[in-house]
């Protein structure tokens, strides 16, 4: 995967030039993180995989926001409404983070609506319609099952990103992707317990 904007050799050359310029002709060039940042304009090299991840995850998150946004109107239980509200707030903020990252790099910025291209774990139109038709306890059960599927997909996307050469070298991408990974694993466990408790109410967590 080749970097989108600045290939490593070009960056290295720019860095060297900047370092030499910064030091004048006397003394050896000293390359520091700050000199590197000045040379690349504060934008470390990134790859198409990074861009695909950040823009793909916007559409992925947007579907979760839509699903979770139904909780109040679809008769969800109190615990589920709380979980859904946290998902709405959390994933909306993350959408803003991804949009900022793309905008800062003059990349195409998805508008924050659910993507039509199905990323891993995303609900099909049919699944989405079923969830939208469900009410009360059935909504809870379907929501948990579908959101677990949805979160598993996000984890898959992170693991694919980490498997791509040159990807996640940018600290913002690395940090964000790692957060998605650990947060959603934690949430899957929480939702699995809620789902189990729905089936066995006496074992309620």
């Amino acid at each position: 995967m080749s970097p989108v904007r600045a290939s490593p050799p070009r960056v290295a050359a720019a860095l060297l030039a900047a370092a030499i310029a910064g030091c004048g002709s006397a003394g050896p060039p000293v390359l520091t993180p700050a000199a590197q940042a000045r040379a690349d304009g504060g934008r470390p090299p990134y790859t198409r995989a990074d861009v695909d991840f950040m823009s793909g995850m916007i559409g992925h998150h947007a579907q979760a926001v839509v699903m979770a946004g139904w909780a109040p109107s679809h008769g969800a239980g109190a615990s589920l409404r709380a979980l859904a509200e946290r998902i709405v707030v959390g994933q909306r903020d993350e959408i803003a983070l991804m949009q900022t990252w793309l905008r800062d790099r003059n990349e195409t910025v998805p508008d924050g609506g659910p993507s039509h291209h199905l990323m891993p774990g995303m609900l099909t139109a049919e699944q989405l319609a079923r969830l939208d038709q469900a009410r009360g306890p059935e909504f809870d059960r379907l929501f948990l099952a579908f959101m677990i599927q949805h979160h598993q997909g996000a984890i898959t996307m992170v693991e694919q990103l980490f498997g791509a050469n040159g990807a996640a070298q940018d600290e913002t991408v690395f940090k964000f992707a790692s957060d998605v990974h650990v947060d959603q694993i934690t949430e899957i466990e929480f939702m699995s317990k809620m789902l189990a408790a729905l089936a066995n109410p006496e074992k309620s967590p």
Binding site: Q36, G77, R130, I148, V158, T186, P201
Partner: protein, 627 residues
């Protein structure tokens, strides 16, 4: 509203633009008279602060800014705000040095003159998040990111599988603080997001490091043996465990992993307080399902069953990792903040920590770190909801979300009491959530200072675990008024009389706690008698107060505040302490012993018997201190 003119002046002074580029020794300005009110400024001056990087609006209450020092020029690029490579991270302390991690390396500050910290070295070695700890002549630095290199190079690691990559712990020898010697490193499967140095009183030849990593497991082609498979598929999975590294002090280059405790094994859902799962409703659902088999069939048909099946690659079985572990060797316990749980670990066998209790909380999203009360009877956990990148202190964000949860800890049982969250609403351009802090050694109370990223720092009292209360703060406006640019206090710790904060984008801040209606001069003076040779907040030190008149007066002030002694008696004891302080030798000893005896009798009739006894003990200890 009950604000004195002096406090208004203090706020006004602190709200003027900060010095842009250099340390600003605040000692030059006359100190305003202390604000002895117990009413917080209203409206809260933290709301609506002007945005800016090095010159934002500022507000402070009961804290004095001693210095603000920008990062080393090696880690500071004024032309691009928010470059995550240049993030300042955690702090450790040794002697007169504050060691500050940075995603691109480590900075060592000499803080012997806190109004003018001086940089001794900025060591370049990229690899987030560079959490730092010290032990004797060793420095430990966490590396987790995929761009960290064994050779500390700046170029990152392009290949997804590479033997140039470092994810784990770097170990430096720092006898010569300006020339850290990179001794060795210990690679781990998930890298080291945080770590905890744990010393073992029974094993002085070694020191141990608990490694917590949150990022995905790397390929076995890069580090042999690494597996990210579920535990039921691979008993050697790198998930569901922590790593324990043993470092022989005589040969630290031989540091290695000695155990990988599966501290989550058998962890079932612990009881939750606060709006737990709605069991009554769940019972109704089950009843309805039983009465209507058709409905049950509908929700277990093909699509949904497949969806549910995707959970089976068992992300189940408890958390896969801890975010951070706070060890408190003096009481043989550690608090683990692990996925969706707060764990209590028995660390009496340091290399083999064992889980002895766990709590969950339906309002907690991501358990981040723990702090014990000094006597071990309480524990506070933080929830870093959103990982520190998100604005979670807006007026619309719930108080219980992204907050601290305070528990009593009695006979190894944790019982929830309350939440504490930064009480000042922040903008959507300020990342803000509960983060790192430490106890301020005010004797007889639990007072803590904590960083909330761009929410600033908050000092709060949690002596009463059911009613925590903010008593001091400092805050800046957002980095940018148009978008969220990461900044703020990563961590803030009390170290030998001062409050030192690592500001992600703005460098190193040092504060002094001011006397107020909540904390007396005597209590602060007593806090300043506590001396650490070194400090890693993740290995909580037991606070011990040497005998001093300040200590006795601190307890006396607390008894005056709580009416644990009648006002006339408080005055008499105060006079007696003043008289004794002027005496020496036998006369002093007799005066103090007499006072201690009287206080012993006072305790019987006091509503705060413990405190009176602590005061009596403080007087007796003073009597035994030769002068």
């Amino acid at each position: 509203m009950n604000r004195t003119p002096a406090s208004l002046l203090a706020i006004a002074l602190l709200s003027v633009p900060a010095c842009a580029t250099s340390s600003s020794p605040a000692g030059a300005t006359p100190q305003p008279a202390p604000d002895l009110s117990t009413t917080a400024p209203n409206p809260d001056p933290r709301v609506g602060l002007r945005a800016g990087w090095m010159n934002p609006g500022e507000a402070a209450w009961n804290l004095r800014v001693v210095s603000k020092t920008p990062p080393s020029e090696k880690f500071y690029n004024p032309s691009t705000p928010g470059d995550r490579r240049l993030t300042n991270s955690d702090l450790a302390f040794t002697g007169k040095f504050a060691i500050q991690g940075n995603y691109s390396g480590v900075q060592v500050w000499d803080i012997s003159n806190p109004s003018k910290p001086t940089l001794r070295i900025a060591y370049v070695c990229p690899g987030s998040q560079s959490d730092v700890s010290v032990y004797k002549n060793l420095l430990f630095v966490s590396g987790e990111s995929t761009s960290g290199r064994l050779d500390c190079g700046l170029q990152g690691v392009a290949d997804s599988v590479s033997h140039d990559r470092l994810r784990g712990i770097r170990i430096f020898e720092i006898s010569d603080i300006e020339n850290p010697k990179y001794l060795t490193n210990v690679q781990t499967c998930r890298g080291s997001h945080t770590h905890t140095v744990v010393s073992d009183p029974k094993d002085p030849a070694n020191v141990y490091v608990y490694i917590s990593g949150s990022a995905p497991v790397r390929s076995p082609s890069e580090l042999p043996g690494c597996s990210g498979a579920p535990l039921d598929q691979d008993p050697n999975s790198a998930l569901f465990r922590i790593e324990v590294i043993k470092v022989p002090l005589a040969a630290p280059e031989q540091a290695r992993i000695v155990s990988s405790p599966r501290i989550f094994q058998g962890l079932t859902a612990p009881p939750r307080h606060a709006e737990p799962f709605d069991s009554a409703r769940a019972a109704r659902i089950a009843a309805a399902a039983a009465a209507n088999p058709g409905a049950a069939v509908r929700v277990t048909d093909g699509t949904v069953a497949r969806a549910a099946d995707t959970t089976r690659p068992a992300r189940r079985g408890g958390p896969t990792q801890c975010h951070d572990i706070t060890a408190y060797p003096a009481i043989g316990l550690a608090g683990g903040a692990c996925g969706g749980y707060g764990l209590l670990l028995d660390i009496s066998d340091v290399a083999n920590p064992k889980r002895i209790a766990a709590v969950a909380d339906s309002n907690f999203s991501f358990w981040h770190s723990a702090t014990f009360s000094n006597d071990g009877s309480k524990i506070l956990f933080t929830d870093e909801w959103g990982g520190g990148s998100a604005p979670r202190c807006r007026a619309t964000d719930k108080y219980e979300w992204g907050a601290n949860a305070i528990f009593t800890l009695i006979d190894n049982k944790m019982t929830f009491k309350s939440y504490y969250k930064l009480p000042a609403a922040q903008t959507s351009f300020e990342n803000c959530v509960a983060h790192n802090g430490s106890l301020i050694p005010i004797p007889g109370r639990e007072v803590m200072v904590q960083g909330w990223y761009q929410g600033g720092i908050s000092v709060f009292d949690w002596t009463d675990p059911s009613h925590p209360k903010e008593i001091a703060y400092h805050d800046r406006g957002p980095m940018d008024s148009t978008k969220l640019v990461s900044a703020g206090s990563w961590s803030v710790y009390w170290y030998n009389g001062f409050i030192v904060s690592s500001e992600i984008a703005r460098g190193l801040d040092i504060f002094e706690l001011l006397p107020s209606g909540f904390i007396s001069r005597n209590e602060i003076d007593a806090a300043k008698t506590v001396h650490f040779d070194y400090l890693n907040a993740q290995e909580q030190p037991k606070l011990v107060w040497p005998p001093s008149f300040a200590l006795a007066r601190a307890y006396l002030d607390q008894l005056a505040r709580s009416n644990g002694l009648a006002p006339a008696r408080v005055s008499a004891v105060r006079s007696e302490l003043a008289r004794a302080e002027k005496l020496s030798g036998n006369a002093r000893r007799e005066a103090l012993t007499g006072l201690a005896d009287q206080l012993g009798s006072d305790a019987q009739g006091s509503s705060d018997q413990n405190k009176v006894r602590m005061l009596a003990a403080a007087a007796r200890d003073l009597a035994a201190t030769p002068r």
